[in-house]
Symmetry: C2
């Protein structure tokens, strides 16, 4: 039977989601916890990959196992076993063909910026001390909604077949002391959100105008865009699935 697991993590101490040799990743720690508790080697397939240091407030993965009688108890045991920086929200059975990566309809990311030194956001937001023209940054964000090909914001050594993404929302707003960039799309390319944020920050700092952003999007060349914003400000906040893949949600 197939199960979805919904969880969150504080990314600082992990080399991202995806398992790799010689570095601790969230996938490895999660698989280890599931395998120990269920008494069988469990492989999980994540909804996507997050880079080293990136956080997730809501992330999904799927795994296969025989019938789990008490998913509530499994969640309890997982949370007791996992370190403080990974928390499981729930585990629920899905249709056998449901796929955490391919069935995800959209992903939402947030990028958090603070404008003055704040001890409580030192590991959770990027400090930009200079004044930012938020209106201009929102105008530039709107340009993303009309764009389809995002090769200009993609890592050059990538293995994807297409650079097409459908951006559904992209805007900046203050939430208390934090300037939050929220962006939703059907899919994202590797490093894409941080490259977008780095570019929009150049606009906010007055170093780049909207015409230049348009030219960057057209150029399809990563070298033209702004520097990638630091990982610690980035959060995967929502992964959306169609209603019908969920069998029982407990």
């Amino acid at each position: 039977m197939r199960y979805f697991i919904c969880f969150s993590y504080f990314g600082k101490h992990y080399h991202g989601w995806q398992k790799q040799p010689n570095a601790i990743t969230v996938q490895e720690v999660l698989e280890d916890a599931l395998s120990k508790i269920l008494g069988k080697t469990i492989d999980v397939m994540g909804a996507g990959r997050t880079d080293a240091g990136v956080h997730a407030k809501q992330m999904y993965a799927h795994f296969d196992f025989t019938e789990i009688e008490d998913t509530h108890n499994l969640v309890f045991r997982l949370n007791a076993f996992l370190p403080k920086d990974i928390a499981v929200e729930n585990v629920f059975q899905v249709a056998d063909e449901a796929h955490a990566r391919f069935d995800a309809v959209s992903r939402t990311y947030e990028y958090w910026i603070v404008q003055k030194k704040n001890p409580f956001y030192a590991q959770q937001a990027y400090l930009v001390k200079y004044p930012l023209a938020i209106d201009k940054m929102n105008e530039a964000a709107k340009l993303l909604l009309d764009c389809k090909d995002f090769e200009c914001f993609s890592k050059s050594n990538t293995d994807v077949n297409t650079f097409l993404c459908d951006i559904k929302e992209a805007h900046w707003e203050y939430v208390n002391d934090v300037l939050v960039f929220k962006i939703t799309a059907d899919r994202f390319l590797r490093n894409m959100v941080r490259a977008i944020v780095g570019t929009l920050l150049e606009v906010g700092l007055g170093k780049m105008d909207l015409g230049t952003v348009k030219a960057i999007l057209k150029s399809k060349d990563r070298r033209n865009a702004g520097a990638s914003a630091p990982a610690k400000g980035l959060y995967l906040t929502k992964v959306l699935y169609p209603q019908n893949i969920v069998k029982t949600h407990g």
Copy 2:
């Protein structure tokens, strides 16, 4: 001339505010930064003491120095010099007799509780998984407003002359995912807020009734009250001074 410095800190890596041998404290780190930048040994007097691991969102101290021409620049240099977990909000001249500790009219603390595992509050809130009767906890909090003598919540080996405190507000409320206890008084005894929180949690868990809380307050004996809640959930959030002690506020 006398100056007030307003600052905040994330308490995890400090053995509290007050200087002591063989342990790093916020006072020591702040004095070191001021002394290095101003080129003279600077002693600061804090508005109060916070224990090891306790955070401060707003804390004040005073120090003496010759005229500082550009306090804005001093703040900038202090923030560049200080570690990430201490931030200076501002520095401003006050009347020569102004005193950060004795002139403070009130202090406000908050205690943060989360009710399920959350990687983003692992170092910043206390995790209480069991259901809490918030109404009962608020009824018990109200009893504090009528009380004057708080010896029952004071460390036994204390050097204070009086246990009298005037509690101005004390209540629990949810702020998004966090259950926040807010308490304001003219002064607090050592460990008092954490002892109060520990006691009110017993009420919320159904282990103690309001009659017992009344009896504890009357008893003036710390052994009767609940266990002290962990330091990581506690924040000093506001220190209030009379308007007239501020000469220039830069």
